[in-house]
């Protein structure tokens, strides 16, 4: 299990917020399985487990990074399906994602800097 670093997002949370923003740009909001499909199409690999997805969504909602509302029953009834729980990434969620990207970029830059002196000592053929 991935351990959370203080003030940082977990990789799955980053994936959810990124995919959520993309779906929400096209369809205003997103629901669980739409997210699963989008992530599986983009990243390949197996679909996210039910428990993993809904626990992460619940965590992000509690943190205020997602806004969750139940769809109107009439809409679901007209479409002949169960009600969806609709999510939207909040401004706070977008801010947390930007902060995470910045932190990841800073980490990558630091790793490249610390690896550079070692690389200089290697004589390439």
């Amino acid at each position: 299990m991935v351990k959370r670093r203080p003030g940082r997002l977990l990789p799955l949370e980053v994936t959810i917020l990124e995919a959520g923003l993309r779906v929400q740009a096209e369809e205003d909001s997103f629901y669980g399985f739409a997210l699963v499909r989008r992530i599986a199409e983009r990243e390949g690999g197996p679909q996210i487990g039910h428990g993993t997805l809904y626990r992460a969504l619940s965590r992000l909602t509690t943190a205020g990074f997602l806004d969750a509302t139940w769809e109107e029953p009439e809409v679901a009834e007209a479409d002949g399906r169960p009600r969806r729980r609709l999510y939207r990434v909040t401004g706070e969620g977008e801010g947390a994602l930007s902060a995470e990207w910045s932190a990841l970029r800073a980490e990558a830059a630091a790793a490249a800097t610390s690896a550079a002196p070692a690389r200089r000592g290697v004589v390439l053929p």
């Binding site: 299990m1 629901y31 669980g32 399985f33 739409a34 699963v36 499909r37 197996p46 679909q47 996210i48 487990g49 039910h50 428990g51 993993t52 997805l53 809904y54 626990r55 992460a56 619940s58 139940w70 399906r81 169960p82 009600r83 969806r84 729980r85």
Partner: protein, 240 residues
């Protein structure tokens, strides 16, 4: 037939919902209802998507089962949080007793499933060996293996249901002890590893006897716990 309406897909959905009912048990009604509704919606959407993409029912069902299995640890962690939100530090004694019962039942079913799997494995090895002429078909050991593995499978099914759990536990005592002995006996002539281990490991016979006694005692203890009279003696659920 529509993928979502196929028997195998519906079975996978039923399994996912059964698991949901299990891990949301004793959780506040609003929280558990929200989780169940969201899962039902997810399973419906997945069924519709599978049908639209022309997926075979077995493949669609495997995807659902895979997602359920992959999310199980997260489900249990979610349950822990949801229970503490529901009860705080005052987890009622009846719910605690039910949880202990649930764990005991899970241990019993798991042990029976392991015994059945062990019997099936030895049987498979014996069938392969008999097919290639290494051993004779229908030897007394082979017939006993078939009978006890079948009995272990029946015992596992009996253990799954609350009403037949005590019977299942008693039922399992004999096949489990017999399959440990017969399995090792059969593998001694089929597997080089078992042959080497049997000669190299000191007290092999004692370890085998202890395993047989231990597994028999486990099922016997289960039978005593789940015996109907013992069940009646316990306070009913709901009384704290």
């Amino acid at each position: 037939m529509n993928t979502a309406e196929s028997r195998i897909y519906r079975a996978a959905v039923a399994l996912a919902l059964w698991w949901c009912a299990l891990y949301t048990r004793d959780v506040d009604g609003r929280i558990s209802e929200a989780r169940r509704s969201e899962l039902e919606s997810d399973l419906f959407e997945q069924g519709r998507w599978s049908a639209e993409s022309g997926m075979r029912p077995a493949r669609a069902a495997a995807l659902v089962v895979g997602r359920s299995l992959r999310g199980m640890i997260a489900d249990l962690l979610w349950r822990r949080t949801a229970l503490s939100e529901t009860w705080g530090d005052h987890y009622p004694s009846w719910a605690r007793a039910r949880r202990v019962d649930g764990v005991a039942a899970a241990v019993g079913v798991l042990a029976a499933a392991c015994v059945t799997a062990w019997g099936s494995f030895v049987l498979l090895r014996a069938v392969v060996a008999a097919a290639s002429g290494e051993i004779a078909w229908g030897s007394p050991t082979f017939i006993a293996l078939v009978a006890y593995t079948g009995a272990a499978a029946c015992g596992t099914v009996l253990l799954l249901r609350r009403r037949t759990r005590a019977l299942g536990a008693i039922w399992m005592v004999l096949p489990s002890a017999a399959l440990v002995h017969l399995g090792l006996y059969q593998l001694f002539s089929l597997s080089a590893t078992v042959g080497v281990l049997r000669n190299a490991v000191p007290l092999w016979g004692s370890a085998e006897g202890l395993t047989m006694a231990g597994i028999g005692a486990l099922f016997l203890a289960g039978a005593i716990r789940w015996w109907p009279a013992a069940d009646r003696a316990r306070p009913s659920a709901g009384a704290s």
